[in-house]
């Protein structure tokens, strides 16, 4: 069964990757990237890396690609296909670059990676790839890398907030709509339209019942 699953998932991954490049509509490109990522998750499952597979689906297919879908559906939902500037020459050049990249990858894999792969594959020990083992490795051998990358994410998050504030995106226009626990627990007034417009404060400058 495993070889069958492998070929299905591998073909899916390749087809998805080709689709990202070939398909003209941006949303279809994003969707085939999602398909590619799901196929990769299936390959991870075959390697008994359940945790990595789940992380792949939750983080990439579930969070990162959702953002892509958002942006494309909002902004790029146009019918006209994306056209490359530069025409035939740029296309020729891109094929050249891709060819060079392929040669480089082939040298890398044929030269080093493939020689390490035997007929039997790597030995499988029970518990390999389980969340427990990955957690242990992250907090012992790879502690520094783990902490540094978490700092990187923290910096990115803080940076995003700072940028949003500088453009006045976080505070402006949202002050009225802000609610607190106390307001949720203690409903004031009767929930009229005027109250909802004035941000649940109970201030009514127009008569009740008009809303």
């Amino acid at each position: 069964m495993a070889p069958v699953f492998f070929f299905i998932a591998a073909l899916g991954a390749i087809a998805g990757a080709i689709g990202v490049v070939v398909l003209r509509h941006p949303l279809y490109s994003v969707l085939s990237l999602v398909f590619h990522l799901l196929s990769l998750a299936a390959l991870f499952l075959l390697l008994r890396a359940e945790f990595v597979a789940a992380a792949q689906v939750v983080v990439y297919a579930g969070a990162v690609m959702v953002l892509y879908v958002f942006v494309v559906a909002y902004v790029g939902g146009t019918q006209e296909p994306v056209d490359l500037p530069g025409g035939a020459r740029a296309r020729l050049l891109s094929f050249g670059v891709v060819g060079l990249l392929l040669v480089e990858l082939l040298i890398a894999t044929l030269g080093s990676g493939l020689s390490a792969v035997g007929e039997e594959g790597a030995a499988y020990e029970p518990g390999f790839g389980s969340p427990a083992q990955i957690g242990e490795l992250l907090l012992t051998d790879f502690l520094l890398a783990f902490e540094v990358s978490s700092f990187l994410l923290l910096i990115a998050a803080v940076g995003a907030v700072v940028l949003a504030r500088r453009r006045g995106g976080v505070d402006d226009g949202e002050v009225e709509g802000r609610i607190s626990v106390a307001q949720l627990l203690a409903p004031e007034g009767l929930g009229s339209m005027a109250e909802s417009v004035s941000g649940r404060s109970g201030v009514t400058d127009e008569p009740e019942g008009r809303g």
């Binding site: 799901l38 499952l45 359940e50 789940a54 939750v58 579930g62 909002y74 939902g77």
Partner: protein, 343 residues
């Protein structure tokens, strides 16, 4: 032969796995029309009316009549819709809902005809992450459905659903971390066993986590008071506006199946799964019935909330998710982490 995709604690013969799949989905899918009918009946009572009582005894055949009506309707799709995505989207929704059902444990390993059989579809070591992974894919069912319909209302509903799902998934996921830390495992069966070992359901020490998870579950199933994605009064119907007949029935079924599944997951994580309170230890065959009873109780709670609370405004929904629920879940995780280490 090694079955890698369904790695279980021990190896079960293929025929048992097939049988299990059939039984679990037969039972799981039978709960759906019951919840459906119960919702209409209970909503009726809440609103001082009878609810369905014409078809069959006590209106019990109403779900069957509804499904029949939907299936015999003409399949219609708007001219602006995108064919294959329009068909694919409800299928994604129903597949992810049923796939999650496989992870729900209805009991521990029991002997059936001399074979050890786990009363669950699969018991993967990533457990609860499996549920979240399929929750992540379910997002595409809603968004693609709304986008491929080629209609403004559908699109708005889909965007609302998407924003809501990602906002509340974060809080829900963080709420589960507390349970996972206390149990020391991601596996759903081991989480129930940890509750048996502690002699206490996790709802007691993890009460905040329970509330946050339940709220996130309401949001993830698009139920009132978080049913912004299908707010009839504003959006005509949301992401499923353009669906009729089979497509609509599929979305409808997926929604109610999600209620059942999330009730089951909540029961497993916080309410002791197949355990009974006060140390009552019934024979093993009672275990699935206990789980089903808990699913019923939580589904009733879902319906109760729907009948009681009005719909939130959209900005309230977002600020509630990000500014109250998420910090609450984070603090809960931190406190639990400290207490687990100290004790």
């Amino acid at each position: 032969m090694t079955t890698v995709l369904a790695e279980v604690g021990f190896y079960e013969p293929v025929w048992i796995q097939i049988l299990k799949a059939l039984v679990i989905f037969a039972v799981g899918l039978q709960i759906v029309p019951i919840v459906l009918l119960a919702e209409r009946k209970i909503l009726g009572r809440f609103q001082q009316r009878y609810g369905p009582n014409r078809v069959g005894p006590f209106g019990a055949l109403q779900p069957l009549a509804d499904i029949g009506k939907l299936l015999w309707k003409e399949e219609f799709r708007p001219k602006t819709s995108i064919g294959f995505l329009f068909v694919l989207a409800p299928i994604i929704s129903i597949i992810t809902a049923t796939a999650t059902l496989a992870a729900v444990p209805f009991g521990n390993v029991v002997d059936i005809f001399g074979e050890p059989v786990g009363l669950y579809g699969i018991d993967v070591n990533i457990g609860i992450l499996y549920v979240f992974a399929f929750g992540a894919i379910a997002f595409y069912g809603l968004v693609l459905g709304g986008w491929a319909s080629g209609s403004k209302y559908s699109f708005l509903g889909a965007m609302r659903a998407a924003a809501q799902l990602i906002s509340y998934e974060v809080a829900g996921g963080l709420a589960v971390v507390g349970v996972v830390m206390m149990a020391g495992s991601l596996s759903l069966t081991e989480i129930v066993e940890a509750q048996a070992a502690d002699g206490m359901w996790f709802v007691v020490p993890q009460f905040v986590g329970f509330l946050v998870f339940l709220t996130a579950a309401f949001a993830e199933t698009n139920r009132a008071p978080f049913d912004l994605a299908e707010a009839d009064a504003e959006l005509v119907g949301g992401y499923n506006t353009e669906y009729g007949g089979g497509g609509f029935a599929t979305y409808f079924m997926a929604e109610y199946l999600n209620i059942v599944v999330l009730s089951a997951i909540t029961a497993t994580l916080f309410l002791g799964g197949w355990l009974l309170p006060f140390g009552i230890d019934p024979p093993t065959w009672v275990d699935p019935l206990v789980v089903i009873a808990k699913i019923g109780a939580l589904s009733f709670f879902f319906i109760w909330i729907r009948a009681t609370l009005p719909r939130l405004r959209y900005d309230q929904l977002m600020s509630f998710g990000w500014k109250i629920l998420l910090p609450l879940a984070t603090i809960n995780t931190l406190v639990t982490a400290i207490l687990v280490v100290v004790w």
